[in-house]
Amino acid sequence: MRSARRQTKVLKGKSIMNTKVKKSESSLISQLLMGNKALFILLALILIMAFASPVFFTSDNLLNVVRQVAYSAVMGAGFTLVLGSGHMDLSIGCMVGFVGVIMGKAMESGLPVPVAILVGIIAGSLCGALNASVITLFDLPPFIVTLATMSVYKGSTYLITKMVPISNLPSSFVFLGQGYIGPIPVPIYIMALMVLVMYILLTRTMFGRHAIAMGGNAEATRVSGIDTKKVRLGVYMTMGVYVAIASVILTARSASAQIAAGQNTEMDAIAAVVIGGTPLSGGSANVLGTLVGCLIVGVVNNSLNLLGADSNWQIIAKGVLILFAIILDVVWTKMYANMAKKKEAAAK
């Protein structure tokens, strides 16, 4: 009896070892697939387009695609933190317009460009601080609070401008949206910098870790001795800074502070983050995925343009993309789990 038991124990040990060996062989590929689903979609799209259109794979066109997504990539990078920390911010689109006209007014009044941008950044982070404070103070759901402040920022923009856009912005400012350094458009540098900063924030700093932990389980994080109110404040203020930078790109590109600038782009940011693999439920964040998500949307839009489709198809395509990404995520995860199960069963 005893020896029989020992035998099964030994056998078990063997089978565990076997699966381990097998795992390291086949799971590398599947893990790579699992971790970079968005990247594979992007590569597939690029591959298809490279054959479908002769113009697509030219450096001019590709740079154009990236330049067009620079704004949404900056928004998305900030939003990755918001979503990863378990929050929501619907006000960021209208905040872009609000910060834009504040910078416009600042420059109109003769402030130098760097100072005006600084004013914009401060305004953005204060807007974020307002969002966070209301959520914390009254213990309200972020969705509702930012839905309300969205309207506040929108109305403030209209009031400040009296519905007249601010144009004639200094050329050194416009350079940030339209200029080139070498062959590469300036917004791409800005985008790369902001994505990198967010990447470091999320993977190398205490603040990033605390924010993600909060997204995973806010109560457990608080009990672990972390001031979650402060973390929330930091998250929304960081989002505000990202909004301000995005606003610089958008305002400079159109060379004027439009009153409706940025409206509805919060939805694009959410879409990009989700396509990029950051779960809506929080607890993990993938800013590189967000960048890829933005690029996917950009490539699809560009492709439809090149193929001569009605531009309204782009809107539908974005919707289909979001659904496709989510469905793929669910199906893929299920397949992966099933595969693991089968392997386990086979090992037994």
Partner: protein
Amino acid sequence: MEDVILKMEGITKLFPGVRALDNVQLELRKGEVHAVIGENGAGKSTLMKILLGIYIADEGTIVYKGEPVRYTSPLEALSHGIAMIHQEISLIPTMDVAENIWLGREKRFLKGRLIDRKARYQATEELLEKLDIHLDSHAIVKNLSIAQMQLIEIARATSYDADVIIMDEPTSALTDVEIQLLYRIIRDLSARGVSIIFISHKIEELFEVCNRVSVYRDGHYIGTHNCDEITQPELINMIVGREMNNLFPKQEVAIGDTVLRVEHLSSAGVFDDVSFEVHRGEILGFCGLMGAGRTEIMRSIFGIDPHDSGKIVMDGKEVRIKKPKDAVRCGLGMVTEDRLRMGAIYALSVMANTTIAHFYAICNKLGFYRRSNEMQAFSSIRDTLSVKCSSHKQKISQLSGGNQQKVIIGRWLLTNPKVLILDEPTRGIDVGSKSEIHRLISGLAAQGMAIIMISSEMPEIIGMSDRILVVRHGKIVHECMREDATQEGLITYAFGAQAN
């Protein structure tokens, strides 16, 4: 021989790693009030869940009204006349009394395609009158007291013409007057031939309202007695009964100076005038029944919940603790009772879960950290606590309960606390990991850490603690040293029954 309406026999239920019920029985006669009693984890609620079809028994038979049955859902059981009134109120707060009572059975009031509200109110009033419950059938439930809600639940159960009503600790939220009202209704129901299963923690009330009592312990059936043929001490013996095993590797440690002193801590309606102190190297056990206020006291000390008055003194200095962060900075650590909601962060890796409380110390002044530093901190915990995980990146949700708990204890060990509060540290953990955790706790005390341990398991409390406090109704009602502690004594204080 009186009519037996329900007979459960040979019921066995296995959960992964645990034998929740082992050959358990219950016999219910027509029109009797039958108490089901036992400590937390004795298997009472599992047995009821099997009766209602929430769980399926691995072995055993249920004979109801002379026929073998096996229900698959509470709804099915209800349709055969078995109703349960849960401890948590399951009414819809925004609806009125009549709507709640007839919820799901609106069909019987249909007039054409619309609900005849008048008829529903009339039926409700007749029902309430029959039970002699004075309640307005139009009242919105959320404006009522807990007792009134419980009465609605009872009315709803009887409205199904239930032959068996299960009441799970029905008096736990009631005042004395309300309890008397409840007793009257129970007696009334039983006089009309309804059988009642009365689950309770309060021994004295069994003798007041019940005819017979069945006792369960650790998933075993102990026995059934007529209430007028058994005394309180005999009953307590049956409840506790088990022999102490020497699972507990408690080391004898010299007790040092006072580290934490709590003075007159109060929180209205939760706990009242709580004072105690804990010393270096000491394991202080807190026992009491679920809901007695043990957890709430600790949550307040740790800053999770606020308190109204009282002082917390660490190393002779009064400290103000408003949030858990303050507590951590004072040298407190707390492993919470509810691992799922308050402990583990399931979306995160084992490593991130281990280092979270200590993370600020891993980072430099600018808030950046090196992965190697985090890895070092994690490895030290993984090795000393022998946490079994496939890699540091593995999600904590994939670990076993015992390993998750080790990670959470490890989370606090990294902060090197002076006082570690452990709330039910071994709940839901298999026997092997349990004794590992016991050894760990004992070792920490030996190193001079002060430990406060809440546990509902009497052997664990007596086996591990140097000193034991009993909490009942938010007050510390008894204190004793390890050598003076007996299960019977502690249970008596916890239940609030008179010691003989």
